[in-house]
Symmetry: C2
Subunit: 365 residues, 2 copies
Amino acid sequence: MGMSRREFSKLGAMGLAARMLPQAGVPAPGGGRKVGYCVIGLGTIADHFMRGVLASENSKITGLVSGHRDKAERIAEQYGVPKSSIYNYENMDRFSENTAIDAVYVALPNSMHAEYTIRSAAAGKHVLCEKPMCTTVSEGEAMIAACRKTRVQLMIAYRLHYEPLHLKAVKLIKDGALGEVGTINGAFGFIAKKGEWRLNKTLAGGGSLYDVGIYVLNASRYLTGEEPVGFTAETSTMDKDGRFDSVEENVSWTTRFPSGAVATGSCTYGTQMPGYFKVFATKGWISMEPAFNYDGMRLRARYSSGVAGTPDIEIDESNPEKDPAQFTRETSYFSDCIRRDQKPRSSGEEGLRDIRYIRQIYDSA
Amino acid sequence: MGMSRREFSKLGAMGLAARMLPQAGVPAPGGGRKVGYCVIGLGTIADHFMRGVLASENSKITGLVSGHRDKAERIAEQYGVPKSSIYNYENMDRFSENTAIDAVYVALPNSMHAEYTIRSAAAGKHVLCEKPMCTTVSEGEAMIAACRKTRVQLMIAYRLHYEPLHLKAVKLIKDGALGEVGTINGAFGFIAKKGEWRLNKTLAGGGSLYDVGIYVLNASRYLTGEEPVGFTAETSTMDKDGRFDSVEENVSWTTRFPSGAVATGSCTYGTQMPGYFKVFATKGWISMEPAFNYDGMRLRARYSSGVAGTPDIEIDESNPEKDPAQFTRETSYFSDCIRRDQKPRSSGEEGLRDIRYIRQIYDSA
């Protein structure tokens, strides 16, 4: 697709663009040009993302949206973003005219994901949106519809879908090395501090389940390759200092998959809960711990070799890549999807499934 | 209590025994004599038990009950048990006359625990009964009543209540080193083979929850020091070879404790599921893996030192004792309880609680 935006616009005027790029109405940058991202929201995770993009061969930062002009100018200088490509939340929509911006990275509090995804799609920009995709099912449906309407790609930033050890675990299971999966356990959480947006239900949509429990839930789905049928759950709030006046502190759930595999998950904002998962199967087990951090993943497994009289196969493997490697991987992948006009694996539909399940877990508790 | 059985009987006849030994109607062996155990059921776990008793300073094997005379005679010779102290299931009650037998160890399939505990109590023998205590709440109540009636001690063989690393984990939590416990995860299971009594509901009372899930459930109780309030659960049977025609294959549950702590548990007879538990708390975490085997326990923990500016405290400790050390410990403890006329920590009431919870988990699934 070695075509400039201007050439594409001409084709569009001639009614040819749609036929050439049947799924994406917005052209991918042509030739060797990197996909340009505008970062919406300049918090902690945006910093990981931008550092990750620096190491990407096909992506770069070309715009910023922030309520803090000073901060944005400082970051713009760091990443070589012209001042003219700094926006605030009011005038952001003008970036539709900015041809250096091909896509956005939505790094705002959960409750704002829908609005800014929809506005970005309306401006003709591809959208990489942080997880959780949104806070309600109807928001997610509106996001998918908006991206479909202007034919931009929508990817939810499930960084672990692109992490080598997670992919290895999925492949081992899919290839049958472990036999049949019977049970999966997992957990992830941390102590959220007073005043953080995560503890504000209006901004976060809910508690730790949206923010960290989603990793455990999502892992149980990609590890089984199945969609859950029904949840049971317990939530609790122990709260000693009034932090938990709007979202719950602890959530634990069980779920069942069509194959009969069952899973438990736990998450929290109240205790120290290093992320892990364990998969128990007929021929052996596989575990990851740490499992959901920005780096340091360690995969362990032990399973039958399948050959009588030979010892079990044992795996103990760590991913030596350091943060922000996961962000580099996910962004490079999305930029490649944009260039190839290909729907990302962690699509809007994928993100919306987790939102439906999160709502089911809350309903069940 | 340096008193022979004969002396005690005389006192009993004089109406004094009850006053001297207000809780136990049956005398402990006097002086240095070891507490004599009759083993009821000569399966795998009885073998562990008998080897454990060999290493005990205060216990010995003095009787056997089995349906297989040949096997019993072989074992009797090994442990120095006279042939006259070998019984079968029909004539077992005659051991009431056998003064070398102070106590029994009930190592039968779950559904037979109640009958043989009650018959042993009626014969005036103290009872060490394998877990699960029984299969129904009413059985458990009858067992406790029977032991109370003849004033014999009843202990459920929760060997991990006497294992040093489990006790260390409990103490760390109880002393507040970890802060407040928010979440506990645990699992335990293995692949049961076709034809085993465990897969027969009539003999086992249920599936893996009675046999191995009980370890996970019980651990969540001794780690929190609390009693659960309510369960939710999922069960499933994937069964590829007809093994699971009477009991379920997989069980996972969530529960909540009065403090607000929540726990998940998983168990199975269908996959390889090495036992573990993880405790997540406000000041850190503690884990055990392996957690429920006969040996090889490994405790790990990381928690705040409580002193600002100093590093976290880290524990990584294994119990070097080999099987049957756990059986030695639990038997020595029970023999000591018998001698001291003291109710064991893992009493009938304690065992019955787990049965009530197991029934609640099944009801909820």
